[in-house]
């Protein structure tokens, strides 16, 4: 099992190397090597260190965050269709970001507002699902889906009343785009820290995946564990949404893909999700910015185009 993790790690490194080497501008391998050694022309240094490196890290961080959040949500809700956005986090984040864009704010405030919106969505769903009655995953799921529909309506309303010149920026944000990431560090740091912190809980998650009754019978404190997953997954998703808008698909498909290959052991699935999700988004973003360069595609298009056939193939083969 550690072998598969090592393999995924190697794949992740290879994808990042590819992302650094490829771009709309051709940089010869010799020039790449010079930049790595701390030399090279100013232009090559700018291309690699100021443009490609931060973007690659941001893509990796975002992809990893989404995939881990997806894996956690699927365990928490015991629903294979759960993804990081199912509880309306991206909707809340989008409303926050769009409000800031509508007010003509700078990129930093847009990011902050997106994070605030996502956290507000988390608290809202938490509070409503908690309610007065008993708490169940299906109640959480239903609350989340309805709240998400509410955010969707607010987003549509905002798009309808927004001056047309602001629309492209908003639509690109909604599609998800790594080129808007100004700093990769929040995504990368949150990803690493949360995976390290959640790993000790992986064994309990395995038990929880079999159902709360069994988990309780086996001595797992189900309620605190579920809230922990919810809070962590929300934080991961909020960070991803803040970094690159709402990129779909990664959070849903990557954990499933890994389960088909590696089996459903969260001790493996969680770190593997971080690596594979990051790899997928790095590859997708590399294609998005080079395929029809200089025109730039939204990365979400490519994640789906890459992921759908891969997933269907794996699903077909597993029968």
């Amino acid at each position: 099992m550690t072998r598969s993790l090592l393999g995924l790690g190697a794949l992740a490194l290879a994808s990042m190397a590819l992302a650094l080497a490829l771009g709309s501008v051709n940089v010869a391998p010799a020039d790449l090597w010079q930049v790595i050694q701390g030399e090279g022309s100013t232009l090559h240094r700018t291309l690699l260190l100021d443009l490609r490196l931060p973007r690659t890290l941001a893509a990796f961080g975002t992809g990893g965050l989404l995939a881990v959040a997806g894996a956690l949500m699927q365990v928490l809700l015991r629903n294979p269709l759960a993804d990081p956005y199912v509880l309306g986090l991206s909707g809340g984040g989008a409303v926050g970001a769009l409000l800031a864009m509508l007010a003509g704010m700078g990129t930093l405030i847009i990011s902050g507002s997106a994070f605030g919106g996502a956290m507000l969505a988390t608290v809202l769903v938490f509070g409503l699902a908690h309610g007065t009655g008993s708490w169940t995953p299906s109640r959480l799921l239903l609350t989340g889906v309805v709240v998400a529909a509410g955010w969707g309506a607010v987003i549509t309303l905002m798009l309808a009343i927004t001056p047309s010149y602001k629309l492209p920026g908003m639509l690109y944000w909604l599609m998800g785009d790594v080129s808007y990431a100004r700093s990769p560090w929040p995504a990368v740091v949150v990803l690493v820290v949360s995976v390290v912190l959640i790993m000790p809980l992986a064994r309990n998650l395995n038990v929880l995946a079999r159902g709360p009754m069994q988990a309780a019978a086996l001595g797992v404190a189900v309620r605190p564990l579920e809230w922990t997953i919810y809070v962590v997954a929300s934080l991961l998703t909020a960070t991803a949404v803040t970094t690159a808008g709402s990129i779909g698909f990664v959070g849903l498909i990557v954990p499933h893909m890994l389960r088909l290959i590696l089996g459903n052991d969260q001790r493996i699935i969680l770190p593997a999700s971080a690596l594979a999700g990051g790899t997928l988004l790095v590859l997708a973003d590399t294609l998005a910015r080079t395929m029809i360069a200089p025109e730039q595609l939204p990365v979400g298009v490519i994640t789906a185009l890459l992921g759908v056939p891969t997933f269907l193939y794996l699903l077909h083969r597993s029968r």
């Binding site: 501008v25 700018t46 291309l47 443009l51 690109y172 100004r182 360069a293």
Partner: protein, 300 residues
């Protein structure tokens, strides 16, 4: 230790900057204030310019600096020479790598059209950038002057700006005393959109002696219903069309025979390419609109 060293280099940097600044000033730098109020000073005339909107490309050529444009964005189709230039993506998504690789010494950006994050990145990478978005006739002529100042092509730029200014002044004079007729300008059919008086097209209508029926609305490009158009009963309906002659987009209005504009056959078209950008071609568009409205007025 490290912060202190950073501080020293920072101070040294500032000193160098101040020294460099004074040298440059003595050689006479070129300064201009862009449309977001930011002053840009460059030491020598810009030689490698990238225009990040089709309008900016047109204005660069108008400023006599078309030969200094090294790259444009998609849809930069005027003047024809612009079609030959390499592209750095679209105005909503700039390929920053391609842009940096061309090593521009000036990037002309679009205030509301380019993504703010990419403009900030340009700023961080130390690329001189100049944001433009003319919203008045005067804005068009003086942005041409400012661009020519930055590229050292003042002779051509100021002459073109003056030609535009005089042309607009002549049209203003000519249509000053005509009877204003109510006009509806249709920006888009579905959803139905128009302009208010703050929009450059609104200003063209006013100049031609038209009363924009939705001029007083608060938004630049308001979305409206067909009902309010019927209620306003414009004497002419105007829209942009690709070939300037026919347009399916006004066909639906013919169902309302009670509309004065329909009754008097005043469904008018103007070439979309002339009116869609705040560039010197706006003069031509204004002339066409004024003439068409004059003919429409005669049919009433």
């Amino acid at each position: 230790m490290i912060p202190r060293r950073l501080n020293i280099s920072f101070v040294l940097g500032l000193l160098l900057l101040a020294f460099g600044h004074s040298v440059a000033a003595s050689e006479g730098q070129r300064c201009a204030i862009d449309d977001v109020g930011k002053e840009l000073c460059i030491v020598a005339p810009a030689q490698r310019v990238i225009a990040l909107s089709p309008g900016a490309t047109e204005l660069m050529f108008a400023a006599g600096a078309g030969h200094k444009v090294v790259a444009v964005v998609s849809y930069s189709d005027y003047p024809p020479a612009a079609l030959e230039l390499p592209s750095v993506g679209s105005h909503t998504r700039v390929d920053m790598e391609a842009l940096m690789a061309l090593q521009p010494d000036l990037v002309v950006t679009w205030v509301t059209g380019n993504p703010p994050a990419q403009i900030e990145l340009l700023q961080e990478l130390g690329i001189p950038n100049f944001a433009i978005e003319p919203r008045t006739f005067d804005g068009v002529s003086n942005v041409i002057e400012r661009l020519s100042t930055l590229t050292g092509t003042e002779a051509a730029g100021f002459a073109e700006a003056e030609r535009f200014r005089l042309g607009i002044a002549a049209l203003t004079e000519r249509y000053r005393d005509v009877d204003p007729i109510p006009v509806f300008y249709q920006v888009w059919e579905k959803p139905l959109m128009t302009v208010n008086n703050e929009h450059l097209i609104g200003k063209v209508l006013k100049l031609c002696g038209a009363k924009n029926v939705f001029g007083g609305m608060s938004r630049l490009i308001p979305r409206i219903s067909a009902e309010v158009v019927l209620q306003a009963n414009p004497y002419a309906i105007l829209t942009g069309s690709v070939d300037g002659q026919t347009n399916q987009e006004l066909e639906d209005w013919k169902d309302y025979s009670g509309l004065t504009a329909v009754e008097k056959d005043n469904l008018l078209f103007v070439p979309a390419s002339l009116i869609s950008r705040p560039t010197p071609r706006l003069l031509e568009a204004t002339q066409i609109i004024c003439e068409k409205l004059e003919a429409a007025r005669a049919r009433l």
